[in-house]
Symmetry: C3
Subunit: 351 residues, 3 copies
Amino acid sequence: MVVSLADVARMVDGQLQGDGSIPITGADIIRDARPGYITFADNSRLAGRLAACRAAAVLTPPDYRPEGIPFVVVSNVQEAFTRVVALFRPPQQDDRVGVAATAVVSPKARLGRNVVVHANAVIGDDVIVGDRTVIHSGVQIMARCRLGEDCVLFPNAVLYENTVLGSRTLIHAGAVIGAYGFGYTTVGGQHRLCTQLGYVELGDDVEIGACSTVDRGTYGATVVGDGTKIDNHVMIAHNCRIGRHNVICSQVGVAGSTTTGDYVVMAGQVGIRDHVHIGERVTIGAKAGVMNDIPDGATYVGIPATPERQQLLMLAALQKLPELKKQLRTLQHTVTQLEQAAGSLTQQEAA
Amino acid sequence: MVVSLADVARMVDGQLQGDGSIPITGADIIRDARPGYITFADNSRLAGRLAACRAAAVLTPPDYRPEGIPFVVVSNVQEAFTRVVALFRPPQQDDRVGVAATAVVSPKARLGRNVVVHANAVIGDDVIVGDRTVIHSGVQIMARCRLGEDCVLFPNAVLYENTVLGSRTLIHAGAVIGAYGFGYTTVGGQHRLCTQLGYVELGDDVEIGACSTVDRGTYGATVVGDGTKIDNHVMIAHNCRIGRHNVICSQVGVAGSTTTGDYVVMAGQVGIRDHVHIGERVTIGAKAGVMNDIPDGATYVGIPATPERQQLLMLAALQKLPELKKQLRTLQHTVTQLEQAAGSLTQQEAA
Amino acid sequence: MVVSLADVARMVDGQLQGDGSIPITGADIIRDARPGYITFADNSRLAGRLAACRAAAVLTPPDYRPEGIPFVVVSNVQEAFTRVVALFRPPQQDDRVGVAATAVVSPKARLGRNVVVHANAVIGDDVIVGDRTVIHSGVQIMARCRLGEDCVLFPNAVLYENTVLGSRTLIHAGAVIGAYGFGYTTVGGQHRLCTQLGYVELGDDVEIGACSTVDRGTYGATVVGDGTKIDNHVMIAHNCRIGRHNVICSQVGVAGSTTTGDYVVMAGQVGIRDHVHIGERVTIGAKAGVMNDIPDGATYVGIPATPERQQLLMLAALQKLPELKKQLRTLQHTVTQLEQAAGSLTQQEAA
């Protein structure tokens, strides 16, 4: 597909600077754009990379006017670029299949209107599925789960029994919701699994990444609050109560019974111990190991995690440690000499 | 459902203190109990949280008598509470389906008595399944696996060929047992996959968490010993020999050919390098990075992992490092002054 | 099965030292070999372990002649041992099933010659599958994916729409390729998912471990280069461009838009932040946390990651930190005494 740059500018309601007759053959980010493509640069710091890029034209915001390349000024660069990419590679709507012939839906399950169930998905007894929810192929939904409206469960996701999903929840492929909590009591040298009567409840607009797991509560619910987004490979253990609008990056692990306030952000590979509370709007840096409660609004980093400022001081000191060691040795030498000198002085005095 | 507190006390063989006519409408942990619920408090340190809780009554052990709330004294609080929760939310027995019509079982597989195979599970050639084992929907069991009695494989678990499971083994959803070991030899700039003739052998009473993986041995078995419990997202690499009754928490990674004694405990996100041995009853703290063998009975923490005492000293020193730096600077200043003074004294002497 | 040691020697073209009539009943590594087995020892450092081993014979390289046990000298020990193990436990070829009756293949998909599709696999619209590719049971391939020749997708692997696989690519069980990138813009307190128009492209000879995930690009491709091998539980985030022949060990996480050169090696549990570049032939140590670009050929370790030498100095200094603290205190004491002495001297002078 080829369109003129002027056509692209018109489509995104942009202001064209340069030759509108240039043919545009595709759209990609600066790193990957080929000759003839249009790209985007949302700030002037990208000027160097843009100059080295082979793109034929670029979308920019009003406050950045690049040189040596035709450009189209738009108010929201990323939104406009999304429309351009979709022009060249239109997101294809797959046929809505209703309930596939090979899906296995319990006669005791209740599906809402316009629910889609793809091939080989399995829906257990007494499951309730809200309107317009889409269940992809290979998804396993055990008995008595309740799913809200407009949810999407991607292929091979698993919901254990009694899981509750709010509306507009996304569960990515391979995620597992409601497996047993990892709690044991050791009796006579044997680890005996604790009670597993609980379940998982995910709020509205929750998103769970691929291969992530949320374990069921011991007696009641493990909860993930409305609007919270969870990346791939994340572990939320039994009895946790994650607040609303948290952002939890990949490979984070939150141990049992820990709670978080709203708008908490955890960077990748963070670990949080059991039974602590993370306050509202807390930010936790990548790889941090949290051993204690964190107060509202704080930023914690490090292993064990401390306030960021403290950690930075410690790290700065640590990097100078080999030098510090040298300085100490020099000082020891000087002091020894002083002692010897003082000794001889004192002897002279005494003499 | 509503029952009287007296009825609850009778059910758990407890000693009622307070008004037995109170209606109880549910049961949950202190954090989540609603008005009218019964909760539990297994020690007096929970008194503050209990006072702030809206529950109508509480189960307690003999040595804790809470104030301002009716209570029921029982000998084992958690066991009693489990029974109360089960009263309000009875664990439902799902119909035992035998072999579901949509399951795909090789005619060459041998299933024991009362085996349950749910919808769309796949069982390969020459697989042997012990009595009463339950295979949930979407489970894939490749050729020649041997499963003991009373195992449960949750939805979408995968066993590669030749996997051996002891009796009473639980495999949670999305776990993968027997994938290729990650070993390569680099020949002419290409990484060539090593031999993959081995398999995985899990002992009796082993439990494997959701999305965990145990890779096959190179020539023979990767082994997980009897009674060992493994949480979600754990990686056990090829040729490992994990001892009996280990407890391995979420997101732990154990590299190839490493061995452990019995009763080892690894906290979350621990990493252990390849070809080391972890002794009996070793405890490894969260996020530790183990680079060497660990002797029996030791507790190791940190990156790289050291005995706990050593790490605590180091951490304490580290936290005082910025102050140490200041002290050194002050001392340098003092010594310089002393040197100058000594210099002038010596000059006076010389004069 | 029993064969004579002489027969084993003949089979591997080896030179027998000792009694060839010994019956050999199996083959396993030194740690696991039983009486009557043959094992291998590829260097003389294993002499101690070999002496304690119950094996009846051993394969060795030309430069190691063990004592007290019959041995067979071969030029490539591991290759020879693979053949011996395969003799006792022959890798069984499972029947090539063609397309299983229970597989669900879209009539719009195009399968090459001799493609194998196992039970309950699902192949979506307009998918193209290269010759001889094997798709195991429970695999889900969404619409418009393109798979090369001689690929193997193990059970329950998932490819989201538009995924591209080169030839000879292996995808292990539970791996998820093409899930949404974890990017949000926060508008009015709600996290809104970014554009998800991209896809994943894996090169030739790429191997992806069990339960690993590669997320799709925002507008275009997330790329993994030819010959790169990825272990279990690895996260490659959206827009990454991983170079060729990388080796990425278990539980590594690479954040969005990061790029790597060729022949990069990342040990287990490494984390790399977003938007950085890792140069060619870089090695990153286990558990390292990478916050910045790394130049070609460097070895980085630690959190935050630094050149290895720097980290080793820091660690050495750190381990001596408690002692350093003591030395400083001693020195402070000495200096105080010197000050007092100097003060009394000065007073004497003044007197």
